[in-house]
Symmetry: C2
Subunit: 754 residues, 2 copies
Amino acid sequence: MKNNDYTLGVLQYIPFFYVIWSDDLLSASEINVVQSAIERDESLDKKDITLLNSWLNTDKPPLNSEIKSWQHTVSNSEVRLIESENYPLSGLSQRMTTFYFSETPVNKSLEHIELNLGIQPNHYKHLFDVEVKQETTSDYYNAKEIDTIVKGEFSEIVSNLHDVLKDPVFDWDIHRKKEDFRSRVLAQVQHLASKKYGAMAYPEAYGGTNDMPGYAFIFENIMFVDGSLAIKFGVQFGLFGGSIQKLGTKPHHDKYLNKTGETNLLGCFAMTETGHGSNVRGIKTTATYNSKTDTIVIHTPGKNDNKEYIGNALDSKMASVFAQLIVNGKNEGVHAILVPVRDENHKLLPGVRIEDNGYKLGLNGVDNGKIWFNQVHVPKENLLNKYGNIKEDGSYFSEIKNPNKRFFTMLGTLVGGRICVARAGLGGAKMALTIAVKHALKRRQFNNNLKIQEDLLMDYPTHQLRLTPAIAKSYVYDITLQHIMKVYSDDSKLDKRKVETQVAGLKSIITWFANDTIQECREACGGKGYLIENRIADLKCDVDIFTTFEGDNNVLLQLCAKGVLSDFKAEFNSAGFTSVLKLLSSQIADKITTINPIYSNKTDSEHLYNSKFHKHAFEYRTRRLTYTLAMRIRDYIKKGVPSYQAFLKVQTHLLALGKAYSCELAYSTFIDFTENIQDKKNKDLFKKLGNLYALHEIRQDATWYLEQGYIGSTKSKAIRQRVERLCTELRPHVGVLVDGFGIPNHILTAPITK
Amino acid sequence: MKNNDYTLGVLQYIPFFYVIWSDDLLSASEINVVQSAIERDESLDKKDITLLNSWLNTDKPPLNSEIKSWQHTVSNSEVRLIESENYPLSGLSQRMTTFYFSETPVNKSLEHIELNLGIQPNHYKHLFDVEVKQETTSDYYNAKEIDTIVKGEFSEIVSNLHDVLKDPVFDWDIHRKKEDFRSRVLAQVQHLASKKYGAMAYPEAYGGTNDMPGYAFIFENIMFVDGSLAIKFGVQFGLFGGSIQKLGTKPHHDKYLNKTGETNLLGCFAMTETGHGSNVRGIKTTATYNSKTDTIVIHTPGKNDNKEYIGNALDSKMASVFAQLIVNGKNEGVHAILVPVRDENHKLLPGVRIEDNGYKLGLNGVDNGKIWFNQVHVPKENLLNKYGNIKEDGSYFSEIKNPNKRFFTMLGTLVGGRICVARAGLGGAKMALTIAVKHALKRRQFNNNLKIQEDLLMDYPTHQLRLTPAIAKSYVYDITLQHIMKVYSDDSKLDKRKVETQVAGLKSIITWFANDTIQECREACGGKGYLIENRIADLKCDVDIFTTFEGDNNVLLQLCAKGVLSDFKAEFNSAGFTSVLKLLSSQIADKITTINPIYSNKTDSEHLYNSKFHKHAFEYRTRRLTYTLAMRIRDYIKKGVPSYQAFLKVQTHLLALGKAYSCELAYSTFIDFTENIQDKKNKDLFKKLGNLYALHEIRQDATWYLEQGYIGSTKSKAIRQRVERLCTELRPHVGVLVDGFGIPNHILTAPITK
């Protein structure tokens, strides 16, 4: 027996007590776990129990000198810490007691503590001066299982696509010259069309499977191959084809939809104008009905009224042109008209001018161009006439009498595109995270002079903090976007206003999230991340524009907030005085809850990890921002400030509300989803991801929560610590979590991932 | 006389009262301004004064219906608001009274109020329903004056450079193929060398003017031309030439320095290795002295030990190679050795292998490469031997005995490069801001249906908020970097440790600032910002890597924090017990100040705009973070946690301290500078920029300040409002402020700026 200060019974607990106290790890409920394990441990005598319990008194913690001597006791034992063991700390303890006394058996009480406290080697391995046998990633969870839980019924569709993507036409390469790049991407789009992916969202009669949610999966997954591919694919089938499908009627479908899905008709979606980016209603291109010739005349009136950034512009034979429809001298508002732009020899048709937009930051495989029309005549039938028609007698007719409502109905049918853009952005983020994490699980940097091996990048707390919350958020947004696509695609619900509001907000926060994440991943990979071969550079350049196109994020968030506001207003106005009173009282109820210092400074882990707390925090923020926003606007209006100006005055408030609403929506969607996971092990994992999402979001807006008194200083700090701790807890599983994104190996070409 | 409810005396004040109350503009001191003006206004009778004063009672503000009737009174007058007038609101008022009564004279009291409240048309023009004759930018300040104040004695050097940059070799163009791009950039570097800019920082004997601060100005300004140019210029003259100048001795200078400055010798700086990015001390390349041949043998031992990302690698004839110097079997640590890599026919020399690093996210005009050495012999004299030498007898000698200190002394001489990288990043941010602001002063989007003209982008509050603080910060960082370069270049001060700590922090926060700003500008320009022709795309890609090279920002911030910590430790240890006591008492003094609710909720504008408040807030943060960090580390150590591990545990805390310290340094440097501006008008402008910097920084870290109780909710909200208001106040001058960056028109090629 070697020299040490403790009985065998006490000695076996020393590593545990060292871990617990050197890092101040324990909350009240956790101390309970240790206490009850000690009580039940039959290897301890009464004296041992008394001593051990005396070390669990948070009011009178062990002396530092005591803690230090524990550390020496462990270090002097010359044992190893083996991360891959089921109970690494218990194993360490057992080997240590064997060293000091003699062969000792496994102690179930220790294993119980280790399991229930959830303490893992990456919490404590840094604390000892012993040799660590490391593992880079744990196999406790299974990536394939995670992937299947997320994709559900769509697993097979995606898996089939992955096989298709093995075709050499999809092999990744660097294309610097835009012409070469574009022809490559066109070939890829045609290949996907030949495998029926283009028409997927169309009705079965037109080569599709009426599967918009499936189409969205395809869209995200081809993003892994290349951003230009995803966008050109989306322009051809989603925007051009989608405008025919959703704004046109049967004759248009019969004539064009098959050809579009097969890429036998290449088309573009000519909405945006140089002078009018986000303001679609203000576009200047005219479509004037000429009753004599029974044609519609498409015309670009002024210098900045040309169409711009139009994807597929150089390859297209036809354009779906958005223009002010003028019938009998009256402007009936924006409508879409199919305009042939090139003949079968790919020559421009008379009156049409198309210019290349040139090189862009990214997406250089997409042929964006500018288009001018000079008095171009097309048959009346080319009007996509589902929501507004020119009748036989040459008069205009629409079932939607209110021009405002008609405009938004037309645009609303295109909301699917926004969901797809968000998904593609999310795909970019997942790809970048996968690359950065795989790199961080191989790359070593710096070291303690005493150690032979340098630490893995992934073992640095700062590195965990920059990547892990983004992984959690990717899962949350994935589930959210799947859900919103289901709601959007549900044809039984005709009123799409709510889903439009939601998509506007989600597209904004998710594309911003994607950009931030990709940037973080670039930096996390250092110089290697800067090389094109490692793929993050292209992702960064391609995804960048997602914040701007299909609706500028700042504009969309205001749209979202106004949607929330009008729901609120409806609620406020519908039942008159009573409803106002009810509303105000719910406001006051909020006040009472939050001013309660017990709630605003509740910091135990049960509370902080409780989704009810998160949901309440998010709901509270949305409701409060809505209420104060409404009051501010009302105040301005009452003082005579015109309403347009009043809305300008509260612009930053609108953005805050848009973000808050979207965040709440994402979290509640994710929580509903986790409730339905059958298997407990994975359910707990997803709940942990949800916890990290929620606490990180609250942390990011902690200024607001503190200002409102919703959380106090102590709670705010506790949330920060919990975020860091969750990142550490997820450290062993981070490799499996990125594998759970399901990006196939043959697409993951970045040399730093190998 | 037309119908209205007021006397002439009262009527003339109506527009002012409407502006004041509809937007809740007034603080107590501002109410005072109005009151005293009214008292002194001889055009008012007692009844008028009583009425007007009754409308200044904040406890009993005018009824909304009253305020609304004021708005109608103004709107019904059919007058115009002319922004370009000296006193636009007084002018509006005069025209209004003329409309309702008859020709009325100018009222000096009104002008007094308008001047002293600082209310400007962009505060209130949205509030009226009258025609506004807008001006896009004011000429109250002069861009040239601002530029001269900032550049000081360096104005002429920069202005001469701008003339040189008119040479067609600097004309901007798109170069997609790296080989073409690189030869273009090489020609540009050679042209600058021929004009003596390369040697500028070298002594006069070697073609220079010993002007490192001037060199830094050149560096920032060529960034406006192209990022690749700046970096290749920096590699050749700053890194390669700088290593000869600073690590070599007279024989090296005589032999190489002239040729380097003239680009007759192209060289590279071979420090970084594939396996060792940020960990220079851990590089593996060996330089073994062979006493038999009296040569040093350079060798790459292992697979990942090659040099990587080495700029100028493909054009170089010589490399300054950092390697472990081994003399008589003993490793003397990292030293630099000049190694010829190519012969005069540009063939690689035996034992040297160089490979192109290929395409990168940006900087494709720089030829980065990987270099391997296989037992390459160079003469002993090629050791850059200022800090460590191999003597005639073959033994190693250094005046700096401590290897650690020797290593940091060598690296310390290269700190100038970090300042230059920060300056180049700042240059990129200025360029992007100039483009985005000029675009926002032309671009119109959306409109009120009642107005003919759409608003300028720059008139949106959200747009002001995304660009204006960045403009203010650019000025602050410009002054800061100039100052730090002066300190660094001051040869009378030999101990550079402090300036190293400071540069490490500043380089990090400024290059991150630059990236964030360029990204914001890209988004603020929408689709136009995405086109390469508008230049922001290249800036984004080029500046991105600045966060990683010349020291990874996360690593540098930890270096910075450790520097602050050792100052603190020195302070703590030097005088023993007394000093500890003093320190603790200053901590307690902090506590008293901050817990004082009057201070933590002081929200009047005098206080919020007082640089003493800002300085205290920044100092408090640095000191508090230092103190708590030191205590946490001490706690870990006391419990036996090894110090390397203890530092890992507090990594995020280190980053926070590094940022806080750098921010404090930047602000105090800027404030010292503003104190010395002679002319009051410009001094006030610079102070306002300082206010915006400080309040925006405090706002960004408001969570921390709230957690500490340093600011209360009310103050936190007031700071947010002040940030928004400062942006609005600077709105008329935003055009002049970006012109004040002094980017010449011929370099500003982006079509959206025209």
